[in-house]
Symmetry: D3
Subunit: 157 residues, 6 copies
């Protein structure tokens, strides 16, 4: 098994970049770690749950899907709210004029996803998070949102 | 602001790949969405908290760091446990012989990180998650763990 | 003990008003129950904790205060986020132009309260919630925010 | 928008009263903030959920109602238990002889509400919390329970 | 390793008793599973945390102890409240006249344990839970509380 | 009511044993309190829920069962994961060669129990926890797992 070695190589590569200077931006706030991946991952679960709902054959399975979808959509809301309040700063709100509205609509879309079993509503939520993800990337040097989304698309039902 | 347009382009690109056929593997299980990014993100918080502990000037701030580190390390454990139990299957355990031991040591490392304020203990935890991440990537076509880790390294204190 | 009788009288009075017709507005959404009291109550705990921090004589008590303050401030954020996303609708955002900004600053103030032990920061948070409470009352016929706030002021340290 | 100004006026009014002396009682205990409003708000959600259950047209919506009702009834129990254990003191138990029994029956009523979709069971729970609320008010100078209940009645389905 | 075989023997023994008829009483309620062991286990953690507090050498460790003690004491309260409200019935309250008072004092003792680092306060809490445990055993044929307590005493610091 | 006196006697008996010396082993780790009873109790709830599912007459009751079963099975997983990571040490893994595999399969069985309403799947989970319980007992002098299991069997539906 050679995964250990491969990773070590990758890590060394990363650290070189880090040590090299100011290439990588980082957050100046207290806790300082944010990633729209958290909301995106849960949104994929919501979307997949909607697809599975229609495949489920018995009542108990459908009930589970509704329950899991509810929990995951709640986590989407939480992760989005945290990004909005804790990560984004006045200068971002100035630069991205629709920032507040986008987060409002995205968290409302997560609420709508709780009430729906239509995968189109899940897709709408994912699209909004992807838009937030690309704004996030635009504010953070070196952060790549593309792979975050593609890692999830590869797990779509 | 052109982020919307850029993202749409990326999305279209992804969907083309998805629609193209079997290029992207996905999980056959019920819920079907897994991503070691979840554990990696929380581990970065643990590491950063350790660094911040030594910079904090008053007792109340240090107490907050201990509290946040405890919560984040618990989340690391949870996300790792979920990966181990829910994602990995017997065929993976056969292929990656140290799978159980690696998860055992990684979750123990998260426990050790609760007890310590030495960033080296946080780094040890991150290294183990990176190793798990690379194994995960090796089992999932199209999943890239590299950007997941580099997105976090860019946010290291 | 005559409290039972008194309450019954009050209840009858309320029900008469309810039954009387359309005097009381109510939410048309799914779950339909919202009350800024939830955020206001937790904010009072945050404020009181800040006062108590300075009265506490031993380290263990101070540590408890920091912990409880952190939890309560997190609950403030949660209750405010729920109000913002779930209760308020586009027509409200149009009428109260600073709605998004007010919620953003109020939830940021809750974050600041986690980092501070200065009661002035707790007061700032309470003031913003009181402003939200008065907007809420302005959108809901028959809702009184005044007593919600005064019930808490009576419990201030 | 004049809500800001109105609130400031109200606040000043409250602070004058507070500053005036001993008019407002407050709790002598550690954390010191209690309000039966917390249980009352969740109980309204339970009651509304019961009403909505019978209006819901599809299975998935009914399943959501059952789930939300369960969570809200659990919160009712929690908030009542906290009041009973943390707020009420031996002198209250002496004065209000049925205090223990009332809390026991009210928390049991919350459990019954989990098992039922009959709004009458939700009303029974609300009535008991209203009785607790009036006892609470009787023990705390300046606290008004009436508006707490009427704020909720205005949101009844 | 012969543990598997031993357990199978024990299991068979239990099932024989179960199958034999009405020897084992069981709860008639919905969920039907209760065990004072849950509260007793967490109370032991509270007690041990108090002992460890005085052994801890650095501030960060003491802060962790305060945090863990707080969480565990909260779990004690929760498990006791559940027993009181969900398991015990009017016929029990009639037979054990101090039932309500005992639970009130035990949950208050859990609250006191949050505020204290004196192991004597932890012991007081354990004693009350042991008293509840013996009442529980007296209401449930075949339930043994003795081993529950001794399993914990063996883990006391 | 003589339960108080009986318990005091039992307690004295236990303390004598404790005070007598090294008869009772205890954990050397930080927190130091572990008991497979926690997982076993929740597993009994899962099993009972499965039985109740088939007795339930209306949809709302069945939905509740699915919900409660999901929560309880999640708690089983959590308690098992904690035992595996926090309690068991390398020397145990060496002595009980199937330790990792047993925990992996037991937590997977808890996941399977979420997806099933067949009591046989609940029994499979219980059997694995009983096996873990007997291993735990074999590593801890004075700990009795038998009564833990029999206390639950007496509450089986």
């Amino acid at each position: 098994m050679k995964s250990k070695i491969q990773m070590t190589k990758i890590s060394n590569f990363f650290y070189k970049i880090i040590d090299a200077g100011d290439v990588w931006a980082h957050c100046d706030l207290f806790c300082g770690v944010y990633d729209p991946a958290q909301a995106r991952i849960e949104a994929q679960s919501v979307y997949n749950a909607m697809k599975i709902y229609h495949m489920a054959k018995d009542d108990a399975s459908k009930q589970r899907v509704v329950l899991i979808k509810e929990q995951r959509a709640e986590l989407v809301k939480h992760h989005l709210w945290v990004l909005w309040t804790d990560y984004f700063q006045p200068e971002h709100a100035e630069k991205f004029e629709n920032l507040h509205d986008l987060f409002w609509k995205a968290t409302k879309a997560a609420g709508d996803a709780k009430k729906s079993v239509d995968p189109a509503d899940g897709q709408k939520l994912i699209d909004m998070i992807d838009e937030i993800g690309s704004i996030f990337a635009a504010t953070k040097d070196g952060y790549q949102y593309g792979p975050v989304a593609s890692n999830m698309l590869g797990q779509a039902k």
